[in-house]
């Protein structure tokens, strides 16, 4: 099976992780003063989600954890070794799993959808797929073979 070159995968991961840093940082800043992100299509979904008890873990806004996760993913894109490949896979797996949980919570518990959270979940899902492809395609390969 042929995979995209590792350089292509790393560029895509870096681009999407940078977008993710932007989205998570916006959510964290918007909620920092007790407010909420602005839903682009109107509605109160973002406010309802921001005011729910699920928006914080141990008193820390989960968007801050998200921003840290995206920064770690961005960092892994700068290295072509097994530590970066597995690190990127593990962080994106954690982010993807938590996004699945949060989407479940939004739909079935809070009964409100925040577009910014959906955007982050989609980014994390694509990042997980890219990192999984990178690990499966190039894990264990020497640097020169990976290019």
């Amino acid at each position: 099976m042929s995979y995209p070159s590792e350089d292509t995968l790393r560029r895509a991961i870096a681009f999407l992780a940078a977008l993710g840093v932007g989205v998570a940082t916006y959510i964290a800043i918007a909620e920092s003063g007790g407010g909420s992100p602005v839903c682009l299509a109107g509605g109160t979904g973002c406010r309802t989600v921001a005011e729910s008890s699920y928006s914080h873990v141990a008193g820390v806004n989960i968007a801050i954890f998200g921003a840290i996760g995206y920064l770690l993913l961005l960092a892994t894109a700068f290295f072509a070794n097994d530590a970066a490949r597995f690190g990127g896979f593990a962080v994106s797996l954690g982010g993807f799993g938590y996004s699945v949980f949060l989407t479940y919570i939004e739909i079935f518990k809070i009964e409100a959808i925040c577009q910014w959270c959906v955007a982050s979940a989609v980014l994390m899902t694509v990042l997980f797929l890219l990192n999984a492809t990178r690990l499966i395609g190039y894990g264990g390969a020497e640097l020169q073979e990976a290019r």
Binding site: T44, R47, T48, D82, G97, Y98, K109, L135, G139, G140
Partner: protein, 142 residues
Amino acid sequence: MSDGDRRTKLMQLASGAVFLAIVVVVALIVVNGSSSDSAGEPTPEAAKEIDRSLRGIPQRGMVLGDPSAPVELVEFGDLQCPVCKGYAEEILPAIIENQVKNGEVKIDFRNYAIIGPQSIPAGAAALAAGEQGRGWNFVELF
């Protein structure tokens, strides 16, 4: 260690991580699915506290306060609305304590169901409680 060995070890680690992630996510969903969000849930203690705060204030339908109060405050609210919740928790208690209890103000709650289909039975239940002279106990508890 050869490339092949390293690759096998990486794949084993990745498989373990995927298995662990699935277990954690399923556990989180099961735990959160079985336990309700108690933060906003009515409890007998909360009902007693509301009874205490409204004790002695006349209630007629959805109007709280002395019917002959010179000032009438009309609230159009949705029982699911988070902004109305903020108003009920941060602003309303002081009005009830300082202006309604001494007969200066009466408050008329009018259902304005805009959030979703569940707002309608919630509003109907409030009106039914109002018929029994406890409409505001219901609204405050909700």
